[in-house]
Each structure stands twice: as C-alpha cells, then as structure tokens.
C-alpha cells in the first residue's frame, strides 16, 4: 500500500523545485484512501456534538430540575442581595423626629444611620455584618418589609418585582428625653426608664455607656467599631434598662408594700413594737441581724407604713416581709412581671424576688432570705424596666399597663397598624395604690423623706417616689436607685433610674431623677 501511495506523490523522485507541485486531475486525493479522513472527521464531529448534548442536559438539570431548590436557598446571591438592598423603614420618635434612616454606600447599597448615640440602648443597630439588635431586631420583619402590613399584598408578595414592603415606625420615644437621660447619667454606667403609666408608652429607655450604632451599621467602620465594643469591659452593648439585673435595695419596698397591703397581711397603720428598739442593735432573724440607719431621726416612735416608706425603714419591711410570707410576696410580684420575661418589644431579663428552689414558701430558702428580700436585698434581682413597672402600677392606681415602644407602623401605601394600650395586670385596688402613692409622695416631700430622696423634688411639680441603695457583696460601691412618678395628683410620667456603683441614692439617682422630671415638664409643656 505504501508503495502505491508513493507513486501518487513524487516522494522518491528528484527533489522538486520548492515552487512546483501538481495541480491536476491526478492531484493527491486522499478521500478515497483506505483510512478515510472524511469519515474520521464525521466521527469526531459526532463525538463533540454528543459532548455538547451532555452540556445541554447538564444545563437542563440545573436550570429546570434543580432551579427552584437552588434559587430559593438561603445562600443564593439573589436572596442575600435582596436582604442587603432593602431600604429599611425609618424610625421616628412620637413627635415625628427622625431617629433612624438610611444612607447609601458607594455601591448604592443602603446602610443605617441614627440620629443620636443616646438611642443605642433602645434602637440597637441594623448591620450587614452583625445583624440586628434592640428595636431594629424586634421589629425587623416590619422594618425590612419581610412581613407586609396588607394581607392581600402579603399573598401576592412573591410575584412582585420588589418583594419587600418596609414599614416606617413611629415610636413612643421622645428624643429630647432620651438624650436628657443619657446626658444626666453622664460618665456613669446606668439606665433610665421613663414611661407614661396611663398607657405603658415608653418615653425614654436609656442605657450608658452608649455606643455609636451608626458606626456599626456603616460597612466601612463596622468591623473596627464592633470588635472594640465587644471587648469593652464596660459592656456598652448591654441594654441595661431591659437586660441588666441589679440588686434593688429599698426601691423593692414598694413591691413588698403591694404584696403586704394587697394580701391584707398588714394595714397602713401596722406598727411593730420591737422596731424602735431594734433600730439600735438590729432586728434578729434566726441569728441574722437586720440593721437600719435612721435611728436618730425617728427615735423611739414605732413607724407605720407611710413613715416606714418615708425613712425607708429596713426593719419594718423585714418584719412585714416575714409576716406577708414568701408565697404572697412572689405571687404579688409576679402580678407586676417578676418571674417571667416582660411583655415588651425588646427582650428582657427575668427579674426575681428569690432565686427559687427553696422550701420556705415562694421559693425562699429560709426566713432570713425572706426578711432580707422584704427590703430588697437577699437574692432579689431586678431590671430597671421592671422597677419602672412597679412604680407605674402605683401611679396608674393599681392597674399596670403593658409597656410598649411603638405607636404605629406605616406601610408605603399609607396603611397604618396602630398599637393600642393594653392592660397587663390589675394588681391592687385603687385604694391600696393610693396608700402606697401617698407614702411615696411623703418620701419625696416629707421632712424626713427629703433626706433620703435628696434632689428628686422639683419646684412646682409634685413628685412621688422611692429611693434605694443596693448594698453589694465584696465591698463594692452600692448601686443607686430611684423610682417615682409625677404629677402626684395626675400621674403622667414614671421614672426609674439606676446608677451602677455610685454610692447612696441621694448622691446620684435621686437628683438625676429630679433633672429628668424637669426635662419631662419642659417637653410636656412645650
């Protein structure tokens, strides 16, 4: 065969000129050879076509069979991008002042920015990297538009080009009060709760130290800001008003009073014969000595309820606590929210009268713990918001309103969802609330009371309240408390103030509360 081939081509002949070659009928026609290139080409073409058919099948598999699965998965870029590109609804205070809105980064993707650092403890933040916290987290579905206000729109949502239907929130907050609260707390760690006892609307919910929520939301500063905040030993990211648990000290006496008077264990005129003598050396309960600090002021007169509140008598309340009993104390406290998370927009830590588990009644372990809890020491731990609710119960004549942060949510098309005030609990009859209120008024305005609530009184505004100094183990400086309300005759605002490790109430919490009552009056009259 090779020989035959070589005849067709001048292989063996003299070397032809470089330019010369055959172009005739007998030109090399390979097509007729035994091994057909044409056939081989056809097969190669067929093989490639089959391979391309495989590509088509593969594309069909991903684009038709797996399409729905993949494109709705959480890590699908469209799902991620939709979340990143959504223009969150804006947040306003109750007077329409803008608290949170959106800016755009260089890629046109929105990010959150806030009116003031003072809001950090209540609004929290909404960040691409670090998710959401505070009100931004609690109302995330409405703010990001995942939940539509309109049920009909909710049904057709997935068919829309722009699926999200973000809602604006008008909150119960007052920016100027929020800022006043943070400003008065100053460099102290602490919390302020201001609310309207008639409706449960929260006017201010401050926690210090504050943080720059805008810097967490801004993608260019988020990581640096958040890492620093997370490692800050002062815990700025902790919303103290709702998630800080503190020993209440004497402000808890209001809870004891509610339980004792409400259950009928004591009456407002109840006195303890051994109390004046015990002022000197302390009142002995099963080997534990309850002590007091007002002996020189009250001398040998046995105190009734009003005056026990006015001078914050530990012995009167220790005895009352024991007389009321653990069961009654915890169950009346539970009426005001103790023992469970509060029905509130933000997550709350559970306030406790006792850490439970004891067999003495109501979870107390013994009489000593119960006696100590009666005046707010023992194992009692509370959040500032919980203590504001205690004051609100008294201010609203025994009826506790559910605290809330949002007045209304407004959809783009104008649809409005309104949050109306709800009764949380009818704790005590009006008469008992009035008795306790009267005592709290005396604690602020009375000759002796003023010593303990120094600075809470405001000229021209009748303030009622109770101070507290929470003694801490280990010789740490005590927490300073104040809870109260004003005006006394027609309560419109409740204030709870906690200042961590700042000494007696008269030093920090009470004067701070006075400032805030003044700020409230300015706002209410303006």
């Amino acid at each position: 065969m090779t020989g035959q081939r070589s005849n067709e081509r001048p292989l063996g002949g003299p070397r032809p000129s470089a330019h010369a070659y055959p172009v005739s009928g007998s030109a090399p026609g390979w097509a007729g050879r035994r091994v057909g290139i044409g056939q081989a080409l056809g097969r190669v073409g067929l093989a490639l076509a089959i391979a391309f058919g495989g590509l088509a099948l593969g594309a069909g598999y991903w684009q038709v069979i797996e399409s729905a699965n993949l494109s709705s998965a959480g890590d699908d870029a469209a799902v991620i991008a939709a979340a990143r590109n959504v223009q969150r609804g804006q947040i306003f205070d109750r007077d329409g002042v803008r608290l949170a809105w959106n800016k755009k980064d260089k890629n046109g993707e929105p990010y959150r920015t806030y009116a003031s650092d003072a809001l950090s403890g209540v609004l929290g933040y909404a960040s691409r990297q670090y998710g959401t916290a505070g009100l931004e987290s609690a109302w995330n579905a409405q703010l990001s538009g995942v939940i539509s206000a309109d049920p009909l729109r909710e049904l057709t949502r997935k068919f829309r080009a722009n699926a999200s239907d973000p809602q604006d929130l008008r909150t119960t907050l007052v920016l100027q009060l929020q800022e006043a609260a943070v400003e008065t707390l100053g460099r102290n760690k602490g919390a302020v709760v201001m609310l309207d006892p008639r409706s449960g609307e929260v006017l201010a919910l401050a926690s210090t130290p504050t943080f720059d929520a805008s810097a967490i939301a801004d993608p260019s500063t988020a990581t640096k800001t958040f890492d620093k905040l997370r490692n800050d030993t002062r815990l700025p990211l902790l919303p103290r008003a709702t998630s800080g648990l503190y020993v209440p000290g004497s402000v808890f006496k209001i809870v004891t009073a509610v339980a004792a008077l409400g259950s009928g264990a004591v009456s407002p005129s109840t006195t303890y014969a051994d109390q004046p003598a015990a002022e000197k050396n302390g009142w002995l309960v099963d080997g534990f000595r309850v002590t007091d600090g007002h002996h020189s002021a009250t001398g040998s007169t046995p105190l009734d309820f009003e005056h026990a509140i006015e001078v914050s008598c530990n012995i009167w309340f220790a005895e009352t606590g024991v007389r009321t009993g653990g069961d009654a104390l915890t169950s009346w406290a539970a009426e005001m929210g103790f023992g469970s998370t509060l029905p509130f927009d933000l997550p709350t830590r559970v306030s406790q009268v006792t850490n439970g588990g004891g067999s003495f009644g109501g979870g107390f372990s013994d009489k000593v713990e119960l006696a100590n809890a009666g005046y707010g020491q023992g194992e009692t731990l509370v959040t500032p918001l919980q203590m504001a609710l205690v004051a609100a119960t008294i201010a609203n004549r025994g009826v506790l309103m559910e605290p809330h942060l949002v007045l209304e949510a407004t959809a783009k098309d104008g649809g409005v969802t309104t949050i109306s005030p709800t009764v949380m609990s009818r704790v005590v009859p009006e008469g008992i609330a009035a008795e306790i209120g009267k005592a709290m008024r005396l604690a602020v305005a009375g000759d002796l009371g003023q010593r303990y609530t120094n600075g809470a009184a405001v000229r021209g505004l009748a303030v009622a309240g109770k101070s507290g100094t929470a003694e801490l183990d280990g010789g740490k400086s005590p927490h300073s408390w104040f809870i109260g309300y004003a005006p006394y005759d027609d309560p419109q605002v409740v204030i709870a103030v906690l200042v961590e490790n700042s000494g007696g109430s008269g030093v920090r919490a009470s004067p701070l509360a006075g400032d805030l009552f003044r700020a409230w009056r300015t706002w209410a009259n303006g």
């Binding site: 065969m1 081509r9 330019h19 939709a82 046109g108």
Partner: protein, 482 residues
C-alpha cells in the same frame, strides 16, 4: 512518474486581481445578528432604566426604549460590516457562516461586559470598552488573515520552527510568568502582557497538522503490538509522550489545568482524525487517566479542584464558593432567564461569582438568557465546529484537513471544557469561553483561528503548496519508496 510532466508551475506570489464578489448569505446572516444584538441592547437598556428607577425610589422610569451604550453597539456592528466589506472586495470564495457566528458570539459577550461593573477589569476605559477594542483588533486580524493568506507554506514548512517557538513560549512562561490566582498563566514583556497558552494552542495545531499529515501513512500502516494493544510505531510514540509530558508540565509548573486538558484533548482528536485508530485514542486516554490519578495524589491544587468538583456544597462559602454560586446562577435563570441585566444580583457592587467575566460568562448568560439562551450559544459553537470540519473535509490535502479540523476543534473543545466546568460536569478549569469571555489574548488567538479557517475555506483552486522533501525518519521507514 515524472514530476515535470503535466504540471503547471506557478509562483508563491499569486496575482492579486481584485474582483469583488457578493456574499449574500454572509450579509443576510449579519443582518440577523445585527437585529439580535439590537434587541439585546434594547432589553439591557430597559432593564437598566428600570433598575435605576427602583434605586431612586421611583416606581416606573420615564422611557424604557433606550439602547444600552448605543455607541459600543454601533462601533461593533460597523466593524462586522467592515470585515464583510473587506471580504467582498477581496473577492474570495471563503466560508460565509463563520463571520456571522463569531459576530453573534462576540456581540453577546460584549453585551454581557456592558452590564457588568465596568471597573472589574480593563485599562482602556472600562470592561466593555476594553473588550470592544480587543474585538476590533481580533476582527482586523481575522479579516487580514482571511483576505491575505493564500498560501500555507509558511506554516507547513516550518512546523518544527513553530514547535520551537511554542516550547520557547512555554519555557518563558515557566520562568517569567506572573502568578494569577495561583496559576502561572500570564506573561508580561514590557507593557504587553498576555496568556501564552492562548497563542500556544494555535501553534500546537499548526505543528500537529504538519507532523501528523507527514507521518500519517506510517502511523496508519505500521504498528507495534504490545499485548493486545496496537501501539503506534515506537519512534512515532515519542511525540505522543512528549505531548503528554508537556501537558503534565503545564499542570505542574503553570497550574493551568484548562490548557493542559485542551492541548491533550485536541492532540488525541487530531491523532484520531489522521489515523482513524481508536486504539491510539484509547492508549492516550489510559495515559491521561494515569497522569490525572498521579497528579491528584501528588499535587494539592489538582486535588482541591477535583474535590470541589465532586462536592462543591461541602464548603459552599469557602472552596466551593465559585462553583456553587455559578450553579445558583444557572438555577436563577431557569428556562427563559432573567433577561440581560436582570440577573446577577450585586453584592457590595460586585457580581455574585468571582472572576465572572473571564471564567464564568457561561453561568452569567445561563442566568440572564436562561436555558434557551444556553442552548443557542452551544448551538453557535457547534456551528463553528461544523463549519470547520466541513472546511477540513473539503480541503485539498491532508495537511489542510488536519489543520482546519484542529483549529475548529480547539474552539469546540475549549468551549466544552469551560462550559462543562461551569455546569459541574467536569472539574472547573480557568480557561476562557471563546469570543465571549473577557480578555485580549483569548479574543486575538481565537480570531486568528477563525481567520485561518476562512483562508483555508477558499474554494477556488488556489496554488497548492510545494511538496516537502521527506524527513529522514520517513525515508528510513518508507521502505516501499524507490
């Protein structure tokens, strides 16, 4: 038989007589391409208007009938018409389907580059503009080759020179190459930088065509039996082994799995075309599998690629991210796609798939044009290959046949490798989708290929090249020769 008898002698320099020849079919197809790209640009323009309106908080844009960057489209279509005009004026009877096919592929790629963020790449005024400039350079090269090349002596005679150039290029890249994403693909000489493997694939085909056509008779007739296997005559096995070694070297040194796969596949296909011996292909495949298994166990980057291929969802946000996101893109596209500009959700201003413009345009088009668009694009590549193989079948001699087949197979196999990688049918390798992917080297090399195919498709009896003096090897083995 005497050489001189009955042979008309012509010179290497043919007489250029310009006689314009109307190319009706090409013009008709180009008009269709123009209409298609015009509609594509309108669709992209409308989507962009809609997106801009949404970003500004408006519900509906004022005017939806807007072309996306009409300047780019006009320049591009104008360039296609210019190439057509040049071919008409030159009066050659070359293939009329290649230009419209390439024109549509390039146009689709250009539309894709227009809708991507312009700062992804490109120093000449953004992604789309840079791509357009390279497309123009490519078309210019294509037209020049199609019009001017009337002789293949310069290719067929100097095959070993070309091979030497290729090996030199390879060595240069080994030594001076710049590492991009862990692969040494890019070579910079002064201000010029490019991917030598793109040029290399053309040189490889030129060399293989020369080598295989010259030694074809021996490869066909002679064989050594090793056990049940018919092996090519042992001296001819050497180039095969060399080829295999070069492919391995590219994988090991350059970490360029795509180019290695492409080179080896094209080599095997051309070996089959020239010999029609499946046993050789089988032998090559055995060598391939052995090499692949060895590489898997020895080299981490190969193992990573294979593992990602086997289960990209094992680490969807890490190693498997690109592949998983590409599959998501296909899935989002569904049957009819999101429309140009409507898909590829932007995260932090970036497309969801890293290196989308070079490695994943197929996935991007899968999302925006849907399965329908994908099938159309696959069809266009098949048309290119079919035209190339047809040119090969009609070629004057074996050399031209193998050359044409090799050139068209390079494009077809390359498209298959990257599309298959995007679709997780085969492991992902970083090579370009011909005429669609962003990148100058790729566009230029593929334009050279199509230009040469056009030149090879000339149907008039152009002067055939002079026969070569047989190589020494061949004289040794060609015992039947006098």
């Amino acid at each position: 038989m005497s050489v001189a008898a009955g042979v008309r002698v012509t010179t290497d320099a043919p007489r250029f007589r310009i006689r314009p020849r109307f190319r009706g079919r090409e013009l008709g197809l180009l008009v269709l391409v123009g209409i298609g790209l015009f509609i594509g640009s309108l669709s992209l323009g409308a989507t962009e208007q809609l997106k801009a309106a949404l970003a500004d908080g408006r519900d509906t844009p004022g005017n939806l009938l807007v072309l996306a960057d009409p300047g780019l489209l006009l320049v591009y279509l104008g360039a296609l018409l210019l190439v057509h005009a040049a071919l008409v004026v030159a009066g050659r009877r070359t293939d009329q389907v290649l230009l419209p096919t390439v024109g549509l592929l390039g146009g689709i790629g250009l539309l894709l580059m227009e809708r991507l963020p312009q700062d992804l790449a490109g120093s000449l005024g953004g992604l789309a503009r840079t791509q357009l400039i390279w497309l123009l350079i490519g078309f210019g090269t294509m037209a020049a080759l199609a019009v001017a090349v009337r002789n293949d002596v310069w290719l067929r005679r100097y095959k070993y020179t070309w091979a030497a150039v290729g090996v030199a290029l390879l060595l240069l890249t080994f030594v001076f190459g710049r590492d991009v994403n862990g692969a040494r693909l890019s070579l910079s000489i002064g201000p010029v930088s490019g991917q030598p493997s793109e040029l290399l694939k053309v040189i490889l085909v030129v060399f293989l065509a020369g080598y295989l056509s010259e030694n074809r008779p021996l490869l066909v007739e002679e064989s050594t039996k090793i056990g049940p296997l018919r092996v090519p005559p042992l001296p001819y096995l050497a180039p095969m082994i060399a080829m295999w070694a070069i492919a391995l070297g590219i994988v090991i040194v350059q970490r360029d799995l795509g180019a290695a796969l492409l080179f080896f596949a094209v080599f095997l296909l051309l070996l089959y075309v020239s010999t029609a011996r499946l046993s050789y292909v089988a032998l090559g495949l055995v060598a391939f599998v052995l090499g692949a298994v060895a590489l898997y166990f020895v080299f981490g980057h190969v193992r990573t690629r294979i593992d990602i291929w086997l289960d990209p969802f094992a680490d969807p946000s890490g190693a498997g991210y690109q592949v998983v996101q590409a599959l998501h893109a296909f899935a989002r596209g569904g049957l009819i796609g999101t429309g140009l500009g409507g898909g590829l959700p932007s995260i932090a201003g970036r497309p969801p798939i890293p290196a989308l413009h070079t490695d994943f345009p197929f996935a991007a088009l899968g999302e925006e044009l849907g399965l329908v668009g994908i099938l159309a694009i696959l069809g266009l590549y098949l048309v290119l290959v079919e035209r190339g193989l047809r040119i090969a079948a009609a070629a004057h001699d074996e050399y031209r046949a193998i050359l044409a087949a090799g050139l068209s197979l390079v494009i077809g196999v390359q498209a298959f490798i990257i599309a298959g990688g995007n679709l997780k049918l085969i492991p992902l390798t970083g090579i370009t989708l011909p005429f669609i992917s962003y990148g100058g080297s790729s566009l230029l090399a593929n334009s050279v290929i199509v230009g040469m195919l056009m030149a090879l498709s000339e149907r008039t009896r152009d002067p055939l090249p002079p026969p070569r003096r047989p190589s020494r090897l061949r004289r040794i083995f060609d015992r039947g020769a006098p």
